[in-house]
Symmetry: C2
């Protein structure tokens, strides 16, 4: 079922869109009610093919604007996602994995906050999920709540009386529930890239944390997985 775009308001919202499965679903949810300004980041991530996916998804869901912000190379050092000398692990030994990117969601949300101020939006959407996830501290609801308190002290928008809301529609959903919801909202998951080390065409490794969560989600949801996996 595709969204009836005629039902959405002109109320603007910023949607953080990596181009992965989660944020694609968030965009589908947000676009039911808001005029979406999608925001992606080029942070020299291994899986930059996700940026092409973000562009395709922005078009699919008729975003008003898709911005790709280039972040300075110096900031996100020391993660397996940005440093070619650190391998993406194929298992998950517990704790915060080496794919953790320092303060990533804080940097992303800060830019979203600035964009929200510029376009006059009081709503920001982010696809964090604390069920089938890699254990990053900045994916938890308590972190988002704290960011929200801070955002409502930081900005002219808030001082002018417009409460800023950080929406996390996926926070308590399993990957299977996310996939089912997105499927019902018309998300074409073949356009999304989740793999931490996807190649330039979006071909997935099928083995990293992110691939494993994704595969299990489709399996559990009883939906066919449209992902292109290397060697399959």
């Amino acid at each position: 079922m595709m969204i009836d775009q005629s039902k959405r308001s002109n109320k603007p919202a910023v949607v953080l869109l990596s181009g992965g499965l989660d944020s694609a679903t968030v965009l589908a949810i947000a676009s039911k009610q808001y005029e979406c300004y999608t925001l992606s980041f080029d942070y020299h991530q291994r899986h930059r093919s996700e940026l092409k996916a973000a562009d395709a998804l922005s078009i699919l869901f008729k975003a008003r604007q898709h911005s790709v912000i280039t972040l300075d190379n110096a900031i996100f050092a020391g993660s397996a996602l940005t440093d070619d000398s650190i391998d993406v692990p194929l298992d998950h030994p517990g704790g915060i994995p080496v794919t953790y990117v320092p303060a990533r969601n804080t940097v992303f949300l800060s830019h979203a906050l600035a964009l929200a101020e510029v376009i006059g939006a009081a709503d920001i959407f982010i696809g964090v999920n604390a069920v089938d996830y890699s254990g990053y501290p900045d994916c938890r609801q308590e972190y988002i709540d704290a960011f929200s308190v801070m955002a409502n002290l930081a900005t002219k928008t808030a001082i002018d009386g417009n409460h800023l809301t950080i929406h996390t529609p996926l926070i308590d959903m399993t990957k299977a529930e996310i996939v089912k919801m997105g499927d019902s909202l018309g998300v074409d998951y073949s356009k999304t890239v989740s793999c931490y080390q996807a190649d330039e065409n979006g071909m997935a490794c099928g083995q990293c944390d992110s691939c494993r969560f994704r595969k299990a989600g489709f399996d559990e949801a009883g939906l066919s997985d449209p992902t292109l996996y290397a060697g399959s």
Copy 2:
């Protein structure tokens, strides 16, 4: 009196350094106790000569590293500090002025947080001041406190048990007190740029909010003002 650099520890700290009077003083304070990693931003501000000032100050106070992060042009739109079509006001009619830059300190502190993670620092210094200031919401202690709570939920540093502290040594000081302290710590204020519309050589207008606070500070402190003002 110059700082005795031999007394400082090897404990790293990130110091946000605009190149203005306040952040120069903060660097002087931080460098007494920490090995400082100074962090500046090129956000296409009118007064980019402050970046040269930041570099000179980093050398003067023997910072371990001075990083200048280039921010994407698209983010800080709609401020008199970044948009040539909006004049810098020469009076202060009350409320948040047009020189406010959307979510600026949040974006700056987020990058500082990422850098802190990368270098293993648990201390960040910022020269916000809520006495002689332009009324920006993100210069108040309650905002900084909220950022700190968020930062301590966001990061691996905090999860690993190292409490992150955002230091605001100037928060309750008058401009005169700041200037007196900096002077006693060896800050060469001729190297700092405060003016919102300083020219490429750092020549100040003498009329904007920032110039007026600065001038009054030197006057009240009974110190000579080394600033080069246009037309004087």
